[in-house]
């Protein structure tokens, strides 16, 4: 059983839940940017929630199936079609040998997860099938898919009836005016009190430079720095620090102008100060943001961050039991 890639889409990569353990050497987690949608697509086809799927961004691929298969598409509203016939998202679909899966225009969100029963069978590299294109590592030949590629699929583990679907209240809304919750910290003390207030008051817009490494935002007021003599080794710009590690979700603001939130293919460290970190519960939301979309940041404390984390885990558990 194989998938023949007829059209690649904008950037379609093989992803699972990622490759932990090598960040200290500069190899990031990778894995699906919206892990909830990735898990949903997998569960809909009877896979384990972390099996390898295809992550398509903005523009879907075109794929011919060499054998009958069970598939599902979850995440962004990127409408799937089988031989040109519209199909629902968040639903178990049956596709026949020789049929082609394609996609209509993106309606909302940014990333769609395409799961196939049995999972995408690329080799495990450092424990994961995820693609890290910057390091030419993992996935299919360490890169996004190209027309002409062929992907193998594993053996299906459980059978799921076509038409199974994720209840509306368990589909995460992608595209409603988003708020990213942030725990201020790291080098927060480098900016003035007024700058800190402005950052959370302002409405920001997703910049075109938004990818798996990080999302850049524009439109808020520049951040004013607390004056200091730059420490030895940091560099002369007030936004420079002695190069340190960057947490996933950390918000760096080079030059104090355009915040960048690092994501699954993060650079592991560098010399720009950070004002805080997006909480783990909201990381999936970033993966569904479109360029030019407006959004806001909201300051929360650790108690709220942990409560949000529990809420997200509870929703993932409900999703799992609803599809069991």
């Amino acid at each position: 059983m194989a998938l023949e890639i007829l059209k690649s889409g904008l950037s379609t990569t093989v992803q699972d839940l990622g490759r932990p353990g090598y960040y200290h050497l500069g190899i990031p987690l990778s894995g699906g940017m919206d892990r909830y949608a990735l898990a949903a697509a997998n569960l809909l086809v009877g896979n384990d929630d972390g099996d390898a799927v295809l992550e398509a961004v903005f523009l879907g691929p075109e794929i011919r199936f060499t054998a009958d298969a069970t598939i599902a598409v979850a995440g962004a509203e990127l409408p799937p079609k089988i031989d040109g016939v519209d199909q629902p998202t968040w639903t178990t679909l049956a596709i026949k040998a020789g049929q082609t899966l394609s996609f209509g225009f993106l309606k909302s969100g940014a990333r769609a997860y395409i799961a196939v029963a049995g999972g995408i069978d690329v080799p495990l590299v450092l424990g994961s099938r995820s693609t890290y294109p910057l390091g030419a590592l993992g996935g299919h030949e360490g890169r996004a898919l190209k027309a002409g590629d062929t992907l193998q699929v594993g053996t299906a583990k459980r059978s799921v009836r076509a038409g199974s679907t994720v209840a509306a209240d368990l589909r995460r809304a992608a595209g409603t005016s988003p708020v990213l919750r942030v725990l201020p910290g790291l080098y927060w003390n480098r900016i003035t009190e007024a700058a800190g207030r402005n950052f959370f008051d302002d409405t920001w817009k997703v910049a075109p430079e938004a990818d798996r490494i990080g999302y850049r935002f524009r439109g808020g007021r520049p951040l004013a720095f607390v004056p200091r003599e730059q420490p030895f080794g940091a560099g002369s710009d007030p936004s420079n620090i002695v190069d340190s590690c960057y947490p996933y979700g950390s918000i760096q603001v080079p030059g104090g102008t355009e915040p960048i939130v690092l994501h699954r293919d993060a650079v592991s460290g560098g010399g720009y100060f950070m004002i805080g970190t997006v909480i783990s519960a909201d990381m999936d939301v970033i993966g569904q943001l479109q360029p030019h979309q407006t959004m806001r940041f909201e300051a929360v404390d650790m108690t709220a961050a942990l409560a949000a984390r529990r809420e997200r885990a509870a929703q993932a558990a409900r999703l799992k039991s609803s599809l069991a």
Binding site: Y23, H24, D243, P247
Partner: protein, 291 residues
Amino acid sequence: MKTRYSFGGDEHIFVEVDEEMSLEAFFTSLSMTNAVKESRIKGVTEICPANASLQIKFDPDVIAPDDLLAELKRLEGAAAAAESTVNTRIIEIPVFYGDPWTHETLMRFRERHQDPSGTDLQYAARINGYASVEAFIAAHAGSPWFVTMVGFVAGLPFMYQMVERSKQIQVPKYLRPRTDTPKLTVGHGGCFGCIYSVRGAGGYQLFGITPMPIYDPNQEISYLRDFMIFFKPGDIVKFKPVDRDGYDAAVQAVETGRFDPLIRPTTFSLEAFHADPAGTNKKLLEVLRGA
């Protein structure tokens, strides 16, 4: 030095050993990294040492953030008292300074540079008080460098020049980061040298290129078969200037599996280095030469 702790969201703790860079700060962050590793705190999933700081990733479902913070503070004293002698290795890295590939790149991004009229080497030589590019290269390749962090992208070493602070090369980063840097470029930003392990974005000044790959995801290069990444924190590097012929010969040797990097085991003591930097470096170079 004053240790500062901050949460990076609900999954990371950032520990800043010092705001400014020094070998003391690096050694403290390294011994703290080792202390955290050895303490096997449940819920700690990864420890990333950096130049003068470290970052701990944890699972808050296993350990409460405040409990982990208390554990780390408890370890701080032990880490500060640790011995600052390491068993390590010294590696010779050939560099083709002022090569045509980084030259093409730096000319392409000239409008993002502090001094669009010259090259990065000319700029760095001038602002660091060297009379010529040749004198600057002699200084860059003259002393060893300490690898104080691996990261940014896969396997990229940050290197700290092993000379007195007054002699350390310092340059600003590009005004705006480039979107492209050739693979294996030798660069410099702030007080740090680096080798870009992969092609990609970057903001450091561009000095030259090495023929020696330091990252191989396919693990086909002879000295990267055991692991795809060459460097680890604590490695010592000595650059060796080569010309176009030397560069081409080394590239060919890499391609045919005959390139054998010069690597020698050695010991480094921070106290001995501070007591006599020039003497310590001279001994390190003797170790490298097999004397």
